[in-house]
Amino acid sequence: MGMGARWGIATSIPMTTDLLTLTQWLSPAFPLGSFAYSHGIETEIAEGRITSADDLQDWLEIVIRRGTGQSDAVLLMRAMAGEDMLAYARAMAASKERSEETEAQGAAFAKTLGALGTAQHAGPLPVVVGEAARQLDLEPTTVAALYLHAFASNLVSCAVRFVPLGQEDGQRVLTRLKPAIAETVEAAKGVSVCDLRNAAFLSDCAAMAHEGLVARMFRT
């Protein structure tokens, strides 16, 4: 018997509980090790191309709208809808470190979920989160939006530590990225895996160049 029935509480409780579950999965406290991955931003900062909050925002806008953000949103939403996205997600990896970034976090996510009593196989992070979210009574757009928010929030936090930027500057960038996240998720609705696209060419180059950085704080 569920808690809601026991306390005689009406039906919105499962959804609230599911939203809390999703928030828990995507919070920085959930042990994915995300803080170690800069998605190539470390290269841009180290080489002096991202030096301000504005530079960071311009970079992340494209990464979210036209790069990893939109492809991850599509992969997650298709996986949540029941499609097998494993091979597609792996084929979309732009470099060795990008592959490690998404696979390592996906494995950590599955492992933690396993420890919480939910069996989930490993794989690229958006696929693993999408598959796990099938059990939640939430709109795919809600799941994808919170996923992208966690992705953006982690990259902002990388930049705050490494540019460095003030905490408030970082939060200002994250606030300004809300339309990019919301519009990307909305545009990803109903997009098939054949229509994945990518315009973030220099973001992919930055991810590759990261492999050659001599002094590195981040793993990607």
Partner: protein
């Protein structure tokens, strides 16, 4: 002032073309076993040497514009090798309405090798090109493929203010996706820092094979590389085609020699 508004209403002659080549191994040599060409698509076979055949695709329409439909395909039989290139740069001209469509479908048989080394694609102002390149590898087939996209012709002082490019490249092994590179650019996103920034020429090279991680890597400024899981990917964005080719060609020559021991196609020699 001349009234040019009627030009967009003129029903333009739309180019159609289909070109196909199939090769297979016969004893120690690779022979052309299938050849088809229609419309503006031509397939030329300048030479065959030893175990590799070279073929060249040509679009006699001289470029791609709105409504055009051009399809090239190739099939490389088991244990054979083919080097494919294009006769000239592909030019995407100004389009009104529908995009120009190009499809490239290449199949590489068991233990076979394909070099897909087309010349650059030049995007003119108001061009709208939609290209799909699908390469299917069977069994242990290997592949060296390259795509170069150039925004206008810098030497001619051209920079496209407006364009649409959808250049979807995918490599499959035994029907499963192995590498998907769905480049989609327009003038705004290309100018963004994470797009192409100030660069006007971009190259993507991929080698697929078990030994990808042992292949030579480029060590010149501007070319970045990564190898994992049976694939080597090289990318670079440059101010223009000339510096791109200067950086790329010596590396491409070295890399190709380690793959099939052969020279670059004649059209690639600077």
């Amino acid at each position: 002032m001349l009234d040019t508004s009627h030009s967009s209403q003129v029903k333009l002659q739309r180019a159609r073309g289909r070109g196909h080549i199939g090769v297979r191994r016969v004893g120690e040599t690779v022979k052309v076993c299938d050849l088809h060409q229609s419309g503006c698509a031509k397939v030329m076979i300048p030479r065959a040497y030893g175990s590799t055949t070279e073929a060249v695709f040509l679009n006699t329409a001289g470029g791609v514009t709105g409504g055009d439909e051009i399809a090239f395909s190739a099939e490389v039989g088991p244990s054979s090798a083919l080097s494919l290139t294009t006769q000239t740069a592909e030019r995407a001209y100004a389009s009104t309405g529908a995009p120009g469509q190009v499809s490239i479908d290449l199949t590489v048989g068991q233990d076979a090798h394909l070099n897909w080394l087309p010349q650059e694609t030049i995007l003119f102002d108001r061009s709208n090109l939609r290209r799909k390149t699908r390469i299917d590898l069977l069994g242990e087939a290997t592949l060296l493929a390259i795509e170069i996209v150039v925004l206008g012709r810098a030497a001619m002082g051209e920079t496209p203010k407006q364009f649409q490019l959808s250049d979807h490249r995918s490599i499959w092994r035994n029907g499963r996706p192995l590498w998907i590179d769905p480049l989609e650019l327009d003038a705004d996103v290309a100018a963004a820092a994470a797009g192409l920034g100030t660069a006007r020429a971009a190259v993507t090279l991929v080698y697929v094979g078990r030994d990808a991680e042992d292949k030579p890597r480029p060590h010149v400024p501007g070319l970045h590389s990564s190898a994992w899981d049976g694939r080597l990917v090289v990318r670079g964005a440059f101010a223009d085609l000339w510096p791109l080719k200067q950086a790329l060609l010596p590396y491409l020559k070295t890399l190709k020699a380690t793959i099939d021991g052969g020279p670059l196609p004649r059209v690639w020699q600077m």
